[in-house]
């Protein structure tokens, strides 16, 4: 998504209103006239001013009224599904790593991404396995990061 100046300004103004409204729910420090609402209020004022300035500038300049259009890359073949796949796989990691363990999920993600970007499977498979092993050993063993573990591959620890 590409926004022009006035569209960004408009988004800022809307955000400013939302933040100002949310600040009503925060309270002050006892016996003080400021507290947890001070910073959000200051930020909303800044955003409002900046937004108004950008809308003003944008309307005066050539690009005119608020407008948003899809970026050029959207039309490239396969671009949208590939980006969606990458995002989906990270979500998949969040959902599954705890249950399945780091090793299988990591191999699956690496393999899926490489296949989707036209790496030959006989390259992708060993690379995915090796990279997973290196990451697992470096983080899990050397740096003591408790990566999610799976029973079947517990011997790696």
């Amino acid at each position: 998504m590409k926004f022009n100046d006035s569209a960004l300004g408009l988004i800022l103004i809307l955000a400013a209103i939302a933040i100002r409204w949310s600040a009503e729910g925060f309270s002050r420090l006892p016996n003080q006239s400021y507290g947890s609402e001070t910073m959000p209020i200051a930020l909303s004022a800044l955003a409002l001013g900046l937004g108004a300035y950008m809308v003003g500038q944008g309307v005066v300049a050539r690009d005119g009224l608020p407008r948003a259009r899809p970026a050029d890359w959207v039309r490239l073949p396969g671009a949208v599904p590939r980006v969606a796949l990458a995002l989906g796989l990270v979500v998949g990691y969040i959902a599954l790593a705890g249950r399945l363990g780091f090793v299988p999920v990591s191999v699956a993600i690496l393999l899926a991404l490489m296949l989707a970007t036209r790496v030959r499977w006989w390259v992708a498979l060993p690379v995915a396995a090796l990279a997973t092993l290196v990451i697992q050993q470096a983080f899990g063993r050397l740096l003591l990061v408790p990566l999610p573990r799976s029973g079947a591959l517990g011997f790696l620890w």
Binding site: L29, P30, N31, P77, G78, P81, L85, L89, G92, L96, R99, L100, G101, P104, V105, V107, A108, I109, L111, A112, L113, L115, A116, R118, L144, P146, S150, G151, A152, L153, G154, W157
Partner: protein, 326 residues
């Protein structure tokens, strides 16, 4: 392209075949244990956690890894301990904030969600002023706080409603003053509070004397009193509050080793004895003395009682001082 994406999906599905094997309590411990520290690397709680981790590792024969789960005034880390599997492979350092956060309405979590294994340290609060302060003993300071208008004096050393804030409010109440007679300036810990006091920003820091030790030795900070029953070994010249103002007031923070509630009995016993051995080790004793931390031991049962008693008394102070959630 479609075929490749399907292939990608298939590999992910394949991964779901792996399964987890159950672990039996008799073999405990058979794999690494993680020790959750609810406060940041470098602080006192982190230091205690790391020393215990290395001592437990020796005793239990498996790696004990320290994991800092910080933020949210300790809520995040304590929740992580309480919500872990009660299988003995997740333990953590519990701090006094567990007795405060539920009164503040931040969480439903209380000490009852934990299996308190042992209390391993306690540090009494203190009263410290800058070396430039006009008040060089606690009685004079108290008199000035009493006679000057409310809010003339400012104190700092923890966040709003933090443990040292409560210590100060509790002391003022015990002296018959309103808990907000001294205005609290929130800080991110004792060290920034002390620095600010020396820079002339605030008047009093009521944190533990150990936290001000270097500045006390540099003659920048003057310790006026210790909120303990007896004088502290590391600070023999500092009177107790009782000696200084005649009021019987004590306030201390502690650190405990805890596990999620519901540990199997064998695991509980194995851990408690390992912790006791670690506590009694020479390494731990000298470490604590060198850092100026207070040594205090209480086994599982006694520790639970102490934690419960503090829960009640801190709740009372917080309600009176208007720091508890309605």
């Amino acid at each position: 392209m479609q075929r490749r994406l399907m292939l990608a999906g298939a590999t992910l599905a394949l991964a779901t075949v792996a399964t987890a094997a159950p672990v039996l309590a008799q073999d405990y411990p058979s794999r690494p244990i993680q020790m959750i520290v609810p406060w940041g690397a470098g602080g006192g709680t982190d230091a205690v956690g790391r020393v215990f981790a290395s001592l437990l590792q020796e005793n239990l024969g498996v790696p004990v890894n320290v994991v800092n789960r910080t933020g949210g005034s300790g809520v995040v880390g304590h929740s992580a301990i309480a919500n872990a599997e009660p299988d003995g492979y997740t333990i953590g350092v519990m701090t006094i904030e567990i007795d405060m956060m539920h009164w503040q309405g931040l969480t439903d979590l209380t000490y009852e969600n934990f299996d308190v294994l042992a209390l391993v340290n306690a540090d009494p609060g203190g009263l410290m002023v800058s070396a430039d302060s006009e008040y060089q003993d606690a009685a004079a300071l108290l008199e000035a706080i009493r006679s000057e208008p409310k809010g003339t004096f400012k104190g700092s050393g923890t966040g709003q409603g933090g443990i040292w804030h409560l210590g100060l409010a509790g002391w003022l109440m015990s002296e018959g003053l309103p808990p907000d007679q001294v205005t609290w300036v929130p800080s991110e810990g004792a060290a920034p509070g002390i620095t600010d006091m020396v820079a002339g920003g605030v008047d009093i820091v009521p944190s533990s004397l150990a936290e001000g030790r270097a500045m006390i030795e540099a003659d920048r900070v003057v310790p006026l009193a210790s909120m303990s029953e007896e004088r502290q070994e590391a600070f023999p010249d500092v009177p107790t509050v009782m000696e200084a103002t005649g009021t019987d007031y004590t306030h201390a923070v502690w650190r405990a080793i805890a596990a999620p509630d519901g540990l199997p009995e064998e695991v509980h016993d194995r851990l408690e004895s390992a912790i006791k051995a670690a506590y009694e080790s020479e390494e731990y004793q000298t470490f604590m003395q060198d850092r100026g931390f207070g040594l205090r031991w209480a086994g599982s049962e006694e520790a639970t009682e102490i934690v419960a008693a503090d829960d009640e008394s801190l709740g009372a102070v917080m309600k009176e001082a208007g720091l508890a959630a309605e």
